[in-house]
Amino acid sequence: MADTTIYSARKIITMNPARPTVSHVAVRDGKILAAGDLAELETWGNYKLDETFADKVLMPGLVEGHAHTMEGTLWRYVYCGFFDRGDPNGKVWDGLQTIEAILDRLKEAEVQIDDPDVPLSGWSLDPIYMDNTRVTRADLDSVSATRPIGVLHASGHILNVNTKALELGGLMKTGINHPGIPLGVDGYPTGELYGPETMTPVGVHVGFNRSLTDSDEQGLRDFAKLCVRTGVTTITDLAARLDDEGVEAMLNVTGEDDYPARVVPLQFFMGATPKKTVEKVVGLKARATDRLRLGRIKAVADGSIQGFSARMRWPGYHNGAPNGLWYTAPEQLAELYRLALAAGIQVHTHTNGDEATDMVLETLAPALRDVPSPNHRFTLQHCQLADAAQFRKMKELSMCVNLFANHHFYWGDEHYRLTVGPERALRMNACRTALETGVPMAIHSDAPVTPLGPFFTAWSAVNRLTASGRTQGEHEKIGVEAALYAITLGAAYTLHLDDEIGSIEVGKKADFAVLEDDPTEIGGDNLKDVRVWGTVQGGRIFAASKL
């Protein structure tokens, strides 16, 4: 018989309402044999008592339902963000509050590169926190005039480059007439490039290649380190291309003995028909392993609100910007939904604007009449602007929602002032309405758009503070308990994994977040400050300090 290990802990928060807290958990074969007190657990026979966690708090391993593995790859570049952020190796990089500070950090990195032709790449720039001061190519030229330099914005949709990079990309010329390329008074591009069409020709010269969203093997390993540091044991890669090579790499890396996370990659619905996409994903599902859960699809209905490419219902954008863009037509989504439902494949759909959410709801309804599927759990991702009536409709259709709680902190002030105006800004990412309506809900970081960290995400949903310190949408706050549920069982439910993970009870995976602080005692105001010791994943112990 396999060995049994019983872990003692200061407290074990189970998320199992039958016994919400216990003192011990028994693990056998990477699964939870029992949770209770020592006397109860001893009844299972021989065991080894492990007191590593005697002074720690255990929770179910946290589940991040909307992230991208490229976060792992980006950390090889220079971090230029406004907020402090931890890297895979545990170093916390100071946030940079001025352009000068950003240029200084880039200069430090620049002198360390010997080869003059190697580009210098940075990421996570966000001028909105610096009075919207724009970075220019002259700024980056001061770092180097001879080495191509590119700095990607936090949104991922804007790239700042220097003159050398523009030259290499063939854009250092006058006469350009393109909405994505602002020009300076001299008639030359300022160095800001908006949107993938303008970023690609230059991006390839500054380290941001065309398959930016694909993570390589090292990136996947670094991504998993971030998971350990944030208490995450199951994480999504929400829009993967999943070509043969990529799938092989993911299978290899996640299959390594010491790989500490369960990765759930969703096939991006783009560039192939609904029929081919569903057929491919049915094939991928058959290749799924415990740590690589292939077999789901991600579709995208519209763009982003802060990029003014989300599809808005009347009265549209607060600043009068024209309505956004559709990325997928209703006819295509309708076919995808029907085929996926019939094949038992789950589809997550990105919507940001409320018109996009309307479209998805209206498209899924007839598909469900054609292919009744009581357990479909099709999930709306982001769904930031949904109103109460839309949540009721989600409930009627048995949909799930994964709301972008972090967004509220990082861009809430912008939404209030500029994009949607005060009233709609208050209802964005309406966690309370979702829960009161009975829509199964998760909350997410969309890493690398915002940092991975479910306790921060939970804190955002509990407090609804914006970066400027305002509470925005008092009514939509949720309690600590509901927030902790959202980052465990709530997210697991949206992935059809709540039978395996998300709570500490018999038969489930031995996935734990190992904590120094008790999130139920620390107070909602401090939830983001819960210190993470590491994780247990499938019964294997991963200490953040030993990565």
Binding site: G170, R210, Y327
Partner: protein, 299 residues
Amino acid sequence: MTIPLPVTVIGGYLGSGKTTLVNHLLRNANGLRLAILVNEFGELAIDEDLIEAEDDDIISIAGGCVCCSFGSDLTGALMDMAKLNPQPDHVLIESSGVAIPSAIVGSVSLLDGFCTDGIVILADAETIQSSAGDKYMGDTVLRQLADANIIVLNKTDLVNEAHLSETKQWLGQQTGDVRIIESSHSIVAPQVVLDSFLVQQALEVPHLEASNLEMMTITLREPVDVENLAKKLADDDLGLIRAKGFVTSLTGQKTLIQVVGRRWETSLAPDSTLSGIVCLGFKGLISKQNIEKIGNVAS
């Protein structure tokens, strides 16, 4: 001097006949090496009898043509096309049903080695008006029409005369009377869609005879005011669909003139090129009399 690779965008909402049009052009490529970029490989992206070889990213087609899907990376796919050996003669982008064609042209214009050859929008004669009124897609459909240099009003066989003329009138109002070519089953003279067909050696391209279109060649022996000439060729009175050719400017430089509907542009050309402009227009409008005002005509 390297000649930039011309790129035509074919747009229009789902079901307007874009894929059928692409196949029609491939069947009538007549030696021209076309590179087709499609947003996605549909069930029947390319008619099976045209396919020579196929793998995940590229379909090889009889006559040296190719078809690639670009997914979310059009710029990357275009850069790949420029590297093909031999280089294609003309790139044709079949945009997705929800794409805004002018945005695609904007992206193309950023790339060295390419020039744009206009936006051809297909409209389904039966459904275009209801699509334009759709609560979700209506504004997208109208933006596509507004972007058109040429509209191919397709599937005219499915509607009666009254509906057709009412639709044409409506389209005229939406687009400020952009050039409209009628078709059924996406069968149009290939010259309508790609200017490369205009200047092909063999002018006996099919599907022109039966249409209400006509081609003429203007030969200008004397140097001309190039800009002024281009403007005249794009004028609504003449109603040309396309014109392309070479003239000598007043300063003695050989110059390429390209006209797509009302849009015209000029660029310097190699000295060795022969003079002459090929014009494609509507029978009646493109009469010798009208064109004689511009130059010597040989039809």
